[in-house]
């Protein structure tokens, strides 16, 4: 076996030095009746070339040459090539969690830089070294609010990603956290502030909203914060599209931001690994879950970094820990760190502006086709601002026109009725900077039933 660095002769010698006659002597503590006396029924040992061929074939079944307007919590952005060049350095790729700080300063400094940039972008004071993804980050943020406030109710906007809400329900169920849903305004697609205000009370631990929300619409964070804070509740803002922070005002009124950083240079990879992050105001840091890197000095006064405030964590506090999280998404956070460094202060804005422009053009083009319209009011008509997603409503059923689009190698928007039964014939479209004008115009023609030349 090519990964095993031993000859049979070396194995024999080592057994002899141990004083064992056969390798099975070393397994004698396993009762004989449970020992597997046969080969595992898994595929036979493959050559590297066979493995590559197998996965290439699988990749081809996953048709690659389609234009895509899919978003909904997983976004296709251009990934600068230096990200993969750097994260594939073995010193990053094959290093463990940096508990031994003297020989992991590289990972630790990079985490410190990640924490700094996330804090800068979100308008929070501190950020952790990552959570599994945006959904578990939002759920853990809600649990954090319970610890901070000592209250056990949460009000969740129905415009939070439906799968995030499902995850929150799973986490909340056994911790005595009950949740109430606040609906959205039919005209603007924003959370209904009246409904929200009615749902929040002096027993509310947290208000959880997403912005841009699941429909791509930017929530009125100052107004939502006012409602939460007037009742002594914390405001948690979930951000599923990190690139929005280049141009959208950060939710500085929030107490906790739970973010998905997949957009920062992380491949879609059929939904994971992604990169959740929790950022918060400084006074809540001791209730945060997950790892934190902090700056300190060594014996000679050199600057260095260590994992710190570990008394929050499971390996120290066991059942009293803030979370059971151990392994996080460190290498993915490193991808995000490199992405943020590549785009930098100006690039992050420019990139976000390109996304804004593409989606604006796509919304106008698709929304003006016969039988199609934008479900929520445009800003020009007194609606709320969007980032790079929009909801399209069609007279024709999406199942019908999406077949037409697929024939033209275009994947259109996601059908919303699977999560929002009231939004029949509504689809959620996304146009990032990688979508071209030609793709948008072709999609519009096919949607309208116009023949497209091959």
């Amino acid at each position: 076996m090519r990964y095993l660095p031993k000859s049979d002769e070396e194995r024999r010698q080592m057994l002899a030095e141990i004083g064992a006659a056969t390798i099975d002597d070393l397994f004698s503590s396993i009762p004989a009746e449970y020992r597997l006396a046969r080969d595992l029924a898994v595929p036979r040992q493959q050559a590297e070339s066979e493995i590559v061929a197998y996965f290439r074939a699988a990749g081809q079944k996953n048709a690659t040459d389609y234009a895509s307007f899919l978003g909904a919590g997983a976004y296709l952005h251009y990934r600068p090539v230096i990200i993969d060049a750097l994260v594939q350095r073995g010193e990053f790729l094959t290093s463990y969690t940096p508990y031994q700080a003297e020989i992991t300063q590289g990972t630790l400094q990079a985490i410190f830089e990640f924490q700094t940039m996330i804090a800068e972008l979100t308008g929070m004071d501190v950020a952790n070294a990552s959570m599994y993804d945006g959904s578990t980050g939002a759920a853990e943020a809600a649990m954090m609010a319970v610890r901070v406030t000592g209250r056990h109710k949460a009000v969740v906007a129905s415009t939070v990603h439906p799968e995030y809400r499902e995850v929150l329900a799973t986490y909340a169920k056994h911790k005595g956290l009950t949740t109430a849903l606040a609906g959205y305004d039919q005209e603007t697609g924003r959370v209904d502030l009246k409904a929200l205000a009615a749902a929040v009370s002096a027993e509310t631990a947290a208000v959880l909203v997403q912005s841009p929300n699941f429909f791509g619409i930017i929530e009125d964070i100052p107004a939502i914060a006012a409602i939460a804070h007037a009742n002594g509740a914390l405001l948690i803002v979930s951000i599923a599209e990190a690139v929005s922070l280049g141009i959208v005002r950060p939710p500085v009124e929030a107490d906790i931001v739970a973010m998905e950083a997949q957009s920062f240079g992380v491949a879609l990879c059929y939904g994971g690994p992604f990169c959740g992050v929790i950022a918060a105001k400084e006074q809540f840091v001791r209730q945060m879950p997950g790892r934190l890197a902090g700056q300190t000095v060594d014996g000679a006064g050199n600057r260095g970094f260590v994992l710190t405030l570990a008394t929050r964590e499971q390996h120290i506090r066991r059942e009293k820990a803030t979370s059971n999280i151990c392994t996080n998404q460190a290498l993915v956070a490193l991808m995000a760190t490199i992405f943020m460094a590549v785009y930098g202060k100006e690039g992050m804005r420019e990139l976000a502006e390109h996304n804004l422009a593409k989606a604006d053009y796509a919304a106008k083009t698709l929304g003006s086709q016969p039988g199609a319209k934008l479900r929520f009011k445009d800003t020009s008509l007194g609606g709320a601002p969007r980032f790079h997603e929009f909801v399209l409503q069609t007279e024709e059923a999406p199942a019908v026109w999406s077949r037409r689009l697929l024939e033209n190698k275009i994947v259109g928007g996601v059908e919303l009725s699977r999560w929002y039964p009231e939004l029949g014939n509504c689809t959620l479209w996304c146009a990032t900077e990688v979508v071209t004008r030609e793709q948008i115009e072709t999609a519009a023609k096919v949607l309208a039933g116009v023949e497209v030349e091959a």
């Binding site: 080592m14 080969d39 029924a41 969690t97 056994h174 100006e346």
Partner: protein
């Protein structure tokens, strides 16, 4: 303390010789306005007035991100990388962490375009390649564990524990009583009690017996009709197989409690014995341990949960199923499900890597891997047991746990020995765990070490034992060869500096 280098100039110690590493400031300290590392293509749609479009939601103050050129970013992260230890540099004997070789073909195939760019909401008809990979991995893991059903959704080991205990709770609820407590041995990982707590269970500690294993009498006394499960690591964190495993399962099952297995130490079992055959009801795997996906400085991982058929109705949604025509699809109609534990379907990128590892090994390679892992641990045990105290004499599997008892008599603790190992070119072993061994040195070599590397490690450990006798201060002030010496963790925690500020 004068370092070896300062006294004698660069010299070889163990397998290393010191060489300069480059200094590197923080990204922010290197930034200057106007530098760029990106270039966007010309915008092919009309530009928009962001301030007008976004109104009050327009960001007027950009985040203070650095401004750098591409070469500076490459050098920055390359220099940082040289400050890290890694499996690619040498042995990483961290007990319970299974730091094995991370094959490069895994990285290659995970980046194949059709897989890396697959959107999770693409129609299933366009996602069959990804679904087939998930299906094959699922079938392989079921065969390896001897279980009946599996979910790949959990993102890491602790997330798998959470899912497994959710299944346990849901099943008990379906029987009319969720029950109140989870039994956890005192040798367990911290994630086990933390997990039990977040699923709403009381944690009851189970004391280990004189061999460091499960005390059957104590277990019999403590298991009752309010016990939901025992969370057991097998082999234990001492690296010892619970040879009474079936009696443990019987005692639990007699009271209606379940046996949960923490699969952290599955690297000792693959191809030799299957948890499903010895009475386990539900367990998690760590693809980033046993199945070679990289640790990446702390993650990502993947923590599939395998279970017996009676727990299958409770698996997280969605569940992968096959249509009559052979096409694979996600089934969301799961009325008894515990719900979702994360968005989408799991860390698919890790599934690809783990499957590549299984294919590279085949049944013979997987068995040989386990045998070599156990051989290596026993070799280290044999070669060190005369200089380090072995608190438990029970047979070791894939890891061996010593204590610092002899060295502590000279004031040298396990943490000091660990730091001194760094000077010899090794990553430390796991320090002070499991908690049932005072001053533990927990060593897991994995199968990835050659005899030469093991001998160098053994020489280093023996040399440090001598130093502890002859020059304890040298060990207590280690490491002496690193960029930074021991860091002030107290200051870091007392006045936390968690971000750079201008």
């Amino acid at each position: 303390m004068i370092s070896d280098t300062e006294k004698n100039g660069p010299r070889t110690l163990g397998k290393v010789r010191t060489h300069p590493t480059q200094n590197e400031a923080l990204l922010f300290e290197k930034s200057s306005p106007g530098k760029r590392a990106y270039k966007l293509p010309p915008l092919d749609v009309p530009a928009v007035n962001s301030a007008k479009l976004l109104g009050a939601a327009h960001r007027t103050t950009p985040g203070l991100l650095p401004e750098l050129s591409e070469i500076e970013i490459i050098r920055h992260f390359t220099r940082l990388s040289t400050w890290n230890y890694a499996i690619d540099l040498g042995m990483y004997p961290l007990g319970s962490c299974t730091m094995k070789y991370n094959p490069r073909v895994n990285e290659f195939v995970a980046r194949i375009e059709g897989l890396a760019e697959a959107h999770p909401y693409r129609p299933e008809s366009l996602s069959q390649g990804a679904l087939e990979i998930i299906d094959l991995l699922r079938r392989c893991l079921l065969e390896i564990t001897g279980m009946d059903a599996i979910t790949l959704q959990p993102a890491a080991g602790a997330h798998g524990e959470f899912t497994g205990i959710l299944l346990t709770r849901a099943w008990h609820e379906s029987q009319g009583n969720p029950r109140r407590k989870i039994l956890i041995p005192d040798s367990a990982h911290g994630t086990n009690p933390a997990t039990a707590a977040i699923v709403g269970y009381a944690v009851e500690n189970l004391k280990s017996n004189a061999d460091g294993g499960i005390d059957l009498d104590a277990l019999t006394r403590q298991v009752d009709e309010e016990t939901a499960a025992l969370m057991l690591t097998n082999p234990s964190t001492l690296g010892v197989f619970e040879s009474q495993i079936h009696r443990i399962a019987d005692i639990l099952h007699a009271k209606g409690a379940l046996l949960y297995m923490d699969g952290a130490n599955m690297n000792a079992l693959v191809g030799k014995v299957r948890p499903g055959d010895f009475g386990v009801d539900v367990m998690h795997l760590n693809l980033h341990k046993t199945f070679s996906t990289p640790h990446g400085g702390g993650g990502p991982g993947s923590g599939p949960v395998a279970c017996k058929a009676f727990l299958e109705p409770f698996l997280p949604t969605p569940v992968l199923v096959q249509n009559q025509d052979g096409a694979l699809r996600w089934d969301y109609d799961r009325p008894q499900s515990v719900g979702r534990v994360r968005a989408f379907y799991g860390n698919t990128g890790m599934f690809i890597r783990a499957l590549a590892y299984i294919l590279a090994n085949g049944p013979d390679g997987l068995r040989q891997t386990t045998e070599d892992a156990v051989l290596n641990a026993n070799y280290i045990r044999k070669k060190l047991e005369d200089v380090y105290e072995l608190p438990y004499q029970t047979a070791s599997m894939h890891e061996v746990v010593f204590s610092d008892k002899r060295q502590a008599a000279r004031g040298v603790k396990t943490g000091d020995i660990a730091k001194r190992l760094i000077d010899y070119g090794f990553h430390p072993y796991t320090v002070s765990f499991p908690l049932i061994v005072h001053g533990a040195l927990m060593i897991e070599p994995t199968e990835s070490e050659s005899r030469e590397e093991l001998d160098l490690f053994i020489d280093a450990m023996r040399s440090i034992a001598r130093e502890a006798e002859e020059n304890p201060d040298l060990v207590k002030s280690a490491p002496h060869s690193t960029r930074v010496s021991r860091l002030d963790e107290v200051q870091a925690a007392r006045k936390p500096i968690l971000r750079w500020r201008p």
